[in-house]
């Protein structure tokens, strides 16, 4: 099985949040491999095998993208736009997971084609629950689109 098979792409710049999210996945027994991108540009490089990730050409695309909105270089909405604008990545489920529940973010997120919008709660117990539900739905219940490979 390829490293990227059934993998989750986590786009998150805050290392604390990366660590906590990984912990939440582990605690919920979700064993999918997780690839972390620290900013929007890196996320797109990974997806489209560009720049430092050129050697990833031909490898399968992630099953799920978990996307923060506030990111350096290119923000989450920009990443979402690029993902939805490309035929290869258009069908990958994208879950926005962010601190904000500003109405404008919600509306823009959904109108750009986000599949889900989860607000990170301060209480880690609640966060665990949110990640658990998210994992059950998007990784187990949901039938993903046919697997695609990076050309």
């Amino acid at each position: 099985m390829d490293q990227m098979s059934k993998a989750i792409l986590l786009v998150e710049d805050n290392p604390d949040d990366v660590k906590l999210t990984l912990r939440a996945f582990k605690r919920n027994n979700m064993l999918n491999p997780i690839v972390v991108a620290r900013d929007g540009v890196e996320a797109l490089d990974i997806l489209f095998a560009r720049g430092a990730y050129a050697e990833r050409a031909g490898k399968p695309l992630p099953t799920l993208i978990i996307l923060d909105l506030k990111l350096p270089r290119l923000d989450g909405l920009g990443v979402l736009k690029a993902v939805r604008g490309d035929a290869r990545t258009r069908l990958i489920p994208v879950v926005i997971m962010t601190s904000s529940k500003e109405e404008q973010d919600l509306i823009q997120g959904y109108s750009l084609g986000a599949n889900s919008y989860v607000r990170k709660p301060v209480d880690f117990a609640e966060f665990l629950e949110a990640v658990r539900v998210l994992g059950i739905y998007w990784l187990m219940m949901n039938s993903p689109p046919p697997e695609r490979h990076i050309p």
């Binding site: 912990r23 506030k70 209480d123």
Partner: protein, 493 residues
């Protein structure tokens, strides 16, 4: 020159022209009167002289004493008339003097004739020589009298000439006066058009331009008259309007920038401030879970406190954001059923805490024009407060209703809970102000601040009446904002 001065000048000239004409008419009239009088007098003199001639012939034929006496009488009368005729023109005076001279001569001649005849023998025939002499004298006398008569006629025609002269002068003066008045009228009309009506049309155009929003319009009609002043003032007015608008524009831009900044700030608060709290809570929990067995109770308690504080700060941040969202949200006013909203909130509270039994007394048919989302948030906070503060009361009752006071509808939410001391009522609606200890009744103290903002956004007011241990009542009014078009009759209540 100012228009009012010009107007006064024109009126003055017109009045003066009319005055001159009137004076001329009056002068001509008196002149004609005088000349008429002269004519009458000279006619009378002429009549007297004719009469005298007749009497002279009478005497010549009959030589009677009666004729002589009559001649004297008529002669005296003519003399009197001539003496009384006081003419002023030198020609007339010369003629009069000449007439008087001749009259004296005639009287002398007549005296000579009568003396020759003698007083008593009037009818006695004279000798040939005397008769011839008398005839000579008489014809001389008649010739003088004839000259006198001619003079009288000359005087008469002089008077007539004078009348004609006066009339001609009057005609000339009237025509000249009328021409002057016409000139004044034409001049005034020209002046009105050029200096008053045209600038007023310009002003009218300018006001139309400015009214249409063209504040850059400059009239530019300076002058030292009223219109010039008006124009200068008008330009000054548009200039200051322009400046005010620019000022308002600037203020608006500043406000918009400030608003944008505030938005960015609250966005940043929402994104960035909660991150560290998540770390604090998450890693405290990780510590507890992974190393809980190596910590004593005090260590665990410390970690729990860190978690509780993080979470509480998370709530505070959320409340702050809610408060700013309530302020920023756009108001969409429709007619809503307040009773229905209250019932729904009451049901959800009952559902969330089935262990509590609260008696709800919600008046039916409370209809209100307000923003449904915001009003629901306000009612949620008020009812949650009532619910919370009746938590330790036996037989808790929460009432929702409306009452009329001073022809205003006041809505209220009343409870029989712990209430509060009215001395602190002024701090009640401040953000993060609390009248109870957190361990007694939890909360951040933002609820009533949010309610107050919502009511204020509806141009209403909110206040509370309470007594410690006996409950609290929150009253609020809402200005019936006239948005939308679904104006329907108010249901009672």
């Amino acid at each position: 020159m100012r228009i009012s001065t010009k107007e006064r000048l024109v009126t003055g000239i017109g009045l003066a022209a009319i005055g001159v004409i009137a004076a001329m008419i009056w002068w001509t009239h008196s002149e004609v009167e005088y000349a008429n009088h002269q004519r009458r007098v000279t006619s009378e003199i002429a009549r007297g002289l004719t009469n005298l001639r007749l009497v002279t012939f009478d005497y010549r034929l009959y030589h009677t004493e009666r004729a002589r006496v009559q001649w004297d009488a008529v002669s005296d009368r003519v003399d009197r008339l001539i003496a009384n005729a006081r003419f002023q023109a030198p020609v007339q005076m010369a003629i009069l003097a000449d007439m008087l001279d001749k009259r004296t001569t005639v009287r002398g001649l007549f005296a000579e004739i009568t003396a020759a005849r003698g007083a008593d023998h009037v009818d006695a025939p004279l000798d040939e020589v005397s008769l011839q002499f008398e005839t000579q004298l008489l014809s001389k006398m008649l010739s003088y009298q004839q000259e006198n008569l001619t003079d009288a006629f000359r005087l008469n025609s002089l008077a007539t000439e004078r009348i004609i002269d006066a009339q001609q002068r009057m005609m000339f003066v009237i025509l000249a006066g009328l021409a002057l008045i016409a000139a004044i009228l034409v001049g005034t009309s020209w002046f009105l058009r050029r200096n008053v009506l045209a600038p007023i049309a310009g002003l009218q155009q300018a006001t139309r331009q400015v009214a249409a929003g063209n504040l850059d319009f400059v009239l530019g009609m300076p002058g030292d008259d009223e219109i010039g002043e008006l124009s200068t003032n008008f330009d000054a007015m548009t200039r200051s309007l322009r400046q005010s608008f620019a000022q308002i524009e600037r203020s608006n831009q500043e406000l918009a920038a400030l608003n944008e900044e505030l938005k960015a700030f609250s966005y940043s608060v929402s994104h960035d401030l909660r991150g560290p709290l998540r770390s604090m809570d998450g890693f405290s929990l990780a510590l507890l879970e992974d190393y809980g067995d190596k910590l004593d109770d005090e260590g665990k308690d410390a970690l729990e406190r860190i978690r509780a504080a993080s979470q509480r700060m998370g709530y505070l941040i959320d409340d702050m954001l809610r408060l700013s969202q309530v302020t920023r949200a756009e108001l969409k006013v429709t007619r809503i059923d307040l009773s229905e909203i209250a019932r729904e909130i009451a049901e959800s509270l009952d559902r969330e805490q089935p262990g509590r039994s609260v008696e709800w007394a919600i008046e039916a048919g409370l209809s209100i024009r307000a923003d449904p989302t915001l009003m629901r948030i306000a009612m949620q906070n008020l009812l949650q407060n009532a619910w919370k503060f009746t938590g330790r009361t036996d037989g808790p009752v929460i009432r929702v209703g409306a009452l009329e006071r001073d022809s205003k509808t006041m809505y209220f939410v009343a409870d029989n809970g712990v209430g509060f001391d009215m001395a602190h009522a002024d701090t009640l609606f401040g953000a993060f102000q609390r009248l109870h200890r957190v361990d007694d009744f939890p909360g951040t103290g933002i609820g009533l601040a949010i309610v107050q903002r919502i009511i204020r956004r509806h141009d209403g007011s909110i206040w509370a009446e309470a007594k410690e241990g006996e409950g609290a009542t929150f009253f609020f009014t809402v200005k019936e904002l006239e948005y939308g078009s679904d104006e329907q009759s108010h249901p009672a209540g």
